[in-house]
């Protein structure tokens, strides 16, 4: 009887160990954000966000930050009358994220920016549709990316993921995310991918919320909630400032 009980306990322990180890193999990637909410207050000028985590020793980690998808309306420039460059054709891109950033680990960046991994502008363009369809999507999208990179909301940060000390068969990683001031209030997704031999082994996602607080929140609420009153107040304050400065200067020059 004792033997049977001993055998049963051993069996249970072994199966438990197997379950634990296999679930660890399914979730080898761990990611943590320093904060899941960022506040935009009066003197806000963009910020950074620390992301840390761990991944098996033999894998790489890449991060993707993307924001609310929307339809963007663009004007394509073209020549008018043969020599004048002007905004000519209306084009819109559907399903375009407002923010798109990729952070790759050290090493050749091309290895990570592939359609298989779903990272990079080429992969992103697959989800986007152009209207009218007669327009050259690849060209328009590439130009749009240039425009967004210029304002800082689209970026490929090569080699920005750094690895820490290894701990057994896991190693730590850390990334400093760049949050430009042009990144508007809203909800964003931060996705981490564990990559080995060009394939995704695991992935995990966290949400980041950006919110207006204090004076900016109050002004935005007023501008959209009571637009007429807001316009009148803006004018009254402008006139008052003009009168005050005007009177101050009169006082300064009153001696002559």
């Amino acid at each position: 009887m004792n033997r049977i009980a001993y055998g049963l306990v051993t069996f249970l322990l072994v199966s438990l160990a197997w379950i634990v180890s296999s679930s660890a193999a399914e979730k080898p990637l761990l990611m943590e954000l320093a904060s899941s909410t960022l506040n935009i207050s009066t003197f806000y000028n963009g910020t950074t966000l620390e992301v840390t985590g761990s991944v098996p020793e033999d894998m790489d980690v890449a991060l993707q930050v993307s924001g609310p998808k929307k339809e963007v309306h663009l004007k394509e420039k073209g020549k008018v009358a043969g020599f004048l460059w002007m905004n000519k054709t209306d084009v819109s891109l559907e399903n375009t994220p407002a923010v798109y950033m990729v952070y790759t680990p050290p090493g050749a960046v091309d290895k990570f920016l592939s359609s298989e991994l779903g990272l990079g502008y080429k992969a992103l363009s697959k989800d986007i549709t152009i209207n009218p369809e007669s327009e050259d999507k690849a060209f328009i999208f590439a130009e749009y990316v240039k425009l967004m990179e210029h304002s800082g909301v689209y970026a490929i940060h090569e080699g920005a993921v750094s690895y820490g000390e290894s701990n057994g068969n896991m190693k730590g990683f850390s990334v400093t995310l760049d949050i430009p001031s042009k990144m508007s209030p809203g909800n964003y997704q931060i996705k981490a991918l564990a990559i080995k031999d060009g394939a995704i082994i695991d992935e995990t996602q966290e949400n980041l919320s950006m919110e207006l607080t204090g004076l900016p929140a109050y002004i935005a609420k007023m501008a959209f909630g009571q637009p007429l009153l807001f316009g009148i107040i803006a004018v009254v304050i402008a006139i008052a400032t003009g009168l005050i400065i005007g009177t101050l200067f009169k006082g300064g020059k009153g001696s002559h």
Binding site: F43, G46, K77, L84, M86, S151, I245
Partner: protein, 311 residues
């Protein structure tokens, strides 16, 4: 460096940079009687502010600067209020007509092309003529310093008699002329239409119209123009805020802190300059903007798409 977040523009700016920019444009409006929107809007766009927000917040700022400037010019006796009111009535009517004209042009297609061409030709024509005319004036003055005041030339005689035939004759004391009240209203309408089509306040068209068509003294032109701009911009600010939510209050306050002081300094500078000197400086500024616009139209853009939403 101190930065502030602009909740409507959705970006942050360097506080000192915007104060300085406001100061510079305020200086120009105090000297020349122009709002400076034609300079301010593109500069703000360079700092990552959307064009619609830049234009609307700038008009809010001009309210402050022109209040400050009008006050300073009023003290110097440079504001012809009846003339300003007549121009304003015309300007508002013209602006309303202009908005309809744009709708019509847009329906016909090629509106952008017509707007750009009108803009460049107006800037080039007005700037070129003012430059040439004030250069002649400065040269004459050098050769014969005795003839300070220009006598009314013979060329104006027929034009004048036609003006006198119009009804509602009124003596505009500050401007030193007796003309029909309809005349400034008509010119105001024309400027208002052009300003609405080109999407600018129109100070730099209004100033030459007052100088060359209404023959007002240059210093009174500057003061009266500011008086008129004040009311135009109050209207634009309230309308923009109400229908488009594009007035960024933080941006406007930063700009107007600089520009109200700039306008006072500008008025003091304006007082020290002769009419021809003022005209030639304004003409150079207008020509500079014209050259920049033309270059922008001729050079191949670095990015072939732009976000829709400008005017």
């Amino acid at each position: 460096m101190l930065h502030m977040y602009l909740p409507i523009a959705g970006n942050s700016v360097n506080v000192f940079l915007i104060l300085g920019l406001g100061g510079f444009v305020g200086l120009l409006s105090g000297i020349f009687g122009v709002g400076g929107g034609f300079l301010m809007t593109p500069l703000l766009m360079m700092f990552g502010i959307p064009p619609t927000v830049a234009a609307a917040s700038d008009s809010n700022q001009i309210v402050g600067a022109s209040t400050s400037g009008t006050l300073a010019h009023m003290r110097l006796g440079n504001v012809d209020i009846p003339m300003g009111i007549m121009l304003l009535i015309g300007g508002v009517a013209g602006g309303t007509i202009g908005v309809q004209v744009i709708k019509l042009l847009k329906a016909m297609g090629n509106a952008d092309f017509l707007i750009a061409i009108t803009y460049v030709i107006m800037l080039g024509g007005v700037g070129g003529y003012m430059f040439w005319e004030s250069l002649q004036g400065l040269k004459k003055e050098k050769n014969s310093p005795a003839t300070e005041e220009k006598p009314v030339t013979e060329k104006n005689a027929p034009q004048k008699s036609l003006m006198q035939k119009l009804p509602l004759q009124f003596k505009f004391a500050k401007s030193g002329c007796e003309i029909s009240m309809l005349l400034p209203v008509i010119f105001g309408i024309l400027v208002g239409i052009l300003a609405a089509i080109m999407g600018v306040g129109g100070g730099f068209i209004m100033v030459p119209v007052m100088v060359y068509l209404l023959r007002m003294p240059m210093h009174v032109v500057v003061g009266t123009s500011l008086f008129q701009i004040l009311f135009t911009c109050i209207n634009v600010t309230v309308m923009q805020s109400y229908s488009n939510h594009t007035v960024d209050f933080v941006l406007a306050v930063l700009l107007l802190l600089g520009s109200t002081i700039g306008a006072q300094v500008g008025t003091a500078v304006s007082k020290r300059l002769k009419a021809d000197q003022l005209k030639i400086m304004l003409a150079s500024l207008v020509l500079l903007v014209c050259v920049k616009m033309t270059a922008g139209l001729l050079m191949t853009p670095t990015i072939m798409v732009a976000l829709k939403g400008g005017h």
